[in-house]
Symmetry: C2
């Protein structure tokens, strides 16, 4: 795809076609400007097969806002829509409709409230609430889901990997295995989730992070093919980067060739007053090899050079590596804690694609329409009770217990103020038998989660920097009980409806079900 | 990300940083213009957990060529690289290097041979061979892998889904769950693999396909919230699209409300001389509901309207649905074959992300360097024998048996011509014990697979249209034995090395291993 093609493909037309066919129906019914509300939420945490998440990290809003702000129906878009024909060969879209749409931004009239990027979030809680003219609030659905689902998915995976590393550096290395240009958004999301940088140079350039990376096997292979040796290749690299010299030691034989050659080059650097940076291991038994490499490096007096591990790393692999190091390192005279503190991880495929759960199941649902000045709740009833919507315009709250740990996210109707209550009656979102009462005096804090982001098509706040988003994540992670953060079998965080919202939902379900029977 | 940011992030800087650090080393050694060869190949078919692929569909080259043709080191790129500092705070890249790089295209001097898009391909066989100056042939690695891995992954998944549908239409519905803008490339790859269209409007616009899509639940919800009914919503949709009327029937109760209302609207359309198009089912037991919906539609005289199924569809789900229809339909007076022929499938998440194997393990490896006019093979030896490279400049052949079915893909050295041989001695790529002899008189055809695509930085052929690529896929699929195409436990297709190439590889491994010991 050429760049000018991406301008057409990924502007206002970056939407499922039914958004446009529905738009014309709304226009022809004269309801296209009715004020409507859509909620964005996901239904379940990512599940990676052998392990699963107990929380998510919210991400993607800034880039969604960029898209909304730049997506307009100009001549190229309208001209394309004009070419489309129905089964009879007549234009699918009327001149009146296309004339009305011409020169309009998809942001027309939209207001957005959202939970800020970097915050810990949970299923069924609206992470973004869009209000505005039915036509445009509907039209942005596909792009909103596309932007928010992916970055939240990857920020979540990165946070898990970062947690498993016990605070060591995680580097995002996924460009080559990313799904097309998701590489760029994925690098951003990984940094939000906890990576300290990325090998993706272009993403680094726009995110303001220093790109990371040293050399590949091909550097060694090329010099060997021209008659040189691995040692020659290492020396050439060290000459170009004497103060940033991390050497990849597994092109031929890690312990017999790579590590000894690296040590020779490090000695030469040291003699010239430079500080060697590290080695990288990219194959084999990474725990065993890192212990043996550490031993050789220590013996040579290089106890501080970093050991970077890469090759199919994820949170479970890091957990296994650390377990093995704790069990085996002492046997070889290597202090396991010292070794663990010098490790860093280059994480590629499994972070940037969130394997093996490569999609967040986020949805965007119509929940209310403004009629005569008030919100009329809209509902969709599913044969699967988990999928029946939580209707209407709502408030979202987070409750903290007396140890200042987050214990529940709560949805209420918009006329409820939890901060003013003595006790809060909570219902499980779908299971009728589960309800409980919380006494507010036993809570340390009640925090409203939604913030105003866009008003009438204009971004209305200074968006936080990437660094501020990262700090927000770190802060929110501190508020979680360790059981919720656990890599496998995490504790179940509570998501609830207030009594009043629960009753509204039951009434609507009953009303509509009775309606069908009466029909 | 704003559009002008994507210009910087996804142009020449769309690369892993080590490509640039290595580039400077090559420049400083004066070997940056040495002619080199890199092979692109994948090591294993996608494995989806319960099932696995027995072939892949090659895709992505045209869009890679677009990137290569447009990626240049101009002021924005060079200015960014100039800002980067080493650990001592000095510039990481020298003025000499950046001055040399300035105004150069990444395509400088590159030639590419490749297996054409749409063709069936197999592990370890080079799908693309890049020759050119070491610096640029190396530099494009990350973007090449990013483009080719993803589209090949998705075209493969789509081909499997298309096969499982027994020839019924597959529609690509994945924009909302795609990994960021992989949505656009994914739509293209899905069409190459067998989808007949996509709901992605922007992708349709640039690919020249008619976008597909009707309406969402929200159309019904919105009209109900304003005091109308599901029937009103269907009538409004039918009024706007009388000749293209496909109705989503599961917003409230599929069989009690959705299907009867659709039938009423279809009767009204028919009375006005229109032909109703179809219904869509998006939840519940899709096989059961399609049987019951078909029964009602048949009773009302609408035996030809299409039934579109969506919701977490993949090749295994289609297989299960068809099995259930074959077992149960007759019991309800519905002819299973007739029902199967009226089905179409809207396939979202599981095709566009290739869940649950969301990355093809394609790699790009230095295999030879031109020295004194001839190719010197380059090798990387891995502790895992599958990962030891097949060295040198090679030819790639496909052999067809006397029934004109493809039976093996073969790599040879570049001075071998399989067409001129009486017998071909073949080796398994890694297992020393497996070799066999094929007699050419028993073969119907020997086909060289690589074609010239780019010469000295210029695309040198008319690239095939998407329709021609689709035809190539259909043709190649006919040449596969059914066992290779099987959804689960497919037959193992043979990939082999000629005796001569095998011997070269063994010699190189021995030579390097001896070298280490002598050191």
């Amino acid at each position: 795809m050429k760049f000018n093609e991406s301008l057409l493909a990924e502007g206002a037309l970056y939407t499922d076609f039914y958004q446009l066919t529905m738009a014309q129906v709304y226009f022809q019914l004269g309801i296209h400007e009715k004020t409507s509300q859509f909620d964005y939420f996901f239904r379940s945490y990512p599940d990676y097969g052998l392990h699963q998440a107990g929380y998510c990290i919210n991400a993607g809003m800034e880039w969604l806002l960029d898209w909304i702000s730049e997506a307009n129906f100009l001549s190229p878009e309208i001209d394309y829509l004009r070419t489309l024909k129905n089964h009879e060969g007549n234009p699918l879209f009327s001149n009146e409709f296309l004339g009305w749409l011409m020169d309009k931004s998809v942001a027309t009239g939209l207001s957005i409230q959202a939970i800020p990027e970097g915050r810990v979030v949970h299923p069924n809680i609206p992470l973004a609430v869009v209000q505005g003219p039915l036509l445009f609030a509907q039209l942005i659905e596909s792009s909103l889901l596309n932007h928010l689902n992916y970055q939240t998915l990857i920020a979540t995976k990165a946070a898990r990997i970062q947690e498993s590393s016990l605070g060591q550096a995680i580097l995002e290395f996924g460009l080559r295995r990313a799904q097309d240009r998701a590489a760029t958004a994925g690098a951003r999301a990984a940094i939000i989730g906890g990576a300290v940088g990325t090998s993706n140079t272009g993403a680094s350039a726009i995110l303001g992070y220093k790109p990371s990376g040293t050399h590949a096997h091909s550097l060694v292979q090329a010099i060997v093919a021209m008659g040189g040796s691995e040692l020659d290749a290492f020396r050439a690299y060290a000459k170009s980067y004497p103060d940033d010299c991390t050497l990849l030691v597994d092109t031929y034989d890690t312990l017999e060739s790579g590590v000894p050659n690296a040590i020779r080059v490090f000695e030469e650097l040291k003699a010239k007053g430079h500080k060697p940076a590290g080695i990288r291991l990219d194959s084999g038994d990474l725990a065993y090899l890192s212990i043996q490499a550490a031993r050789k490096l220590n013996d040579a007096g290089f106890e501080d050079v970093r050991i970077v591990l890469s090759n199919q790393i994820d949170e479970l692999v890091i957990w296994q590596i650390l377990t093995q190091i704790k069990e085996e390192a002492s046997r070889y005279g290597v202090d396991p804690d010292h070794l663990i503190k010098r490790l860093a991880y280059g994480v590629g495929t499994r972070m940037i694609t969130s394997s093996v759960d490569p999609a967040l199941d986020g949805v965007y649902k119509l929940v209310a329409i403004k009629e005569n000045g008030g919100w009329t709740p809209a509902i969709k009833i599913s044969e699967n009770p988990e999928k029946t919507l939580n209707p209407g315009h709502k408030h979202i709250w987070r409750l903290y217990d007396d140890r200042d740990k987050a214990i529940a996210d709560v949805m209420s109707t918009d006329d409820e103020n939890l901060c003013a209550m003595d006790e809060i009656h909570l219902h499980h979102p779908t299971d009728q038998t589960k309800h409980r009462i919380l006494f507010c005096k036993e809570l340390s804090r009640i925090e409203p989660l939604l913030e105003d982001i866009m008003k009438d098509g204009k971004v209305m706040c200074d968006l936080p920097s990437l660094e501020m988003i990262r700090e927000k994540r770190q802060e929110d992670m501190q508020y979680l009980y360790p059981g919720v953060k656990r890599i496998m079998n995490p504790h179940h965080y509570h998501v609830s409806l207030t009594e009043k919202l629960w009753s509204l939902k039951q009434d609507l379900v009953k009303e509509y079900s009775d309606g069908i029977k009466d029909d």
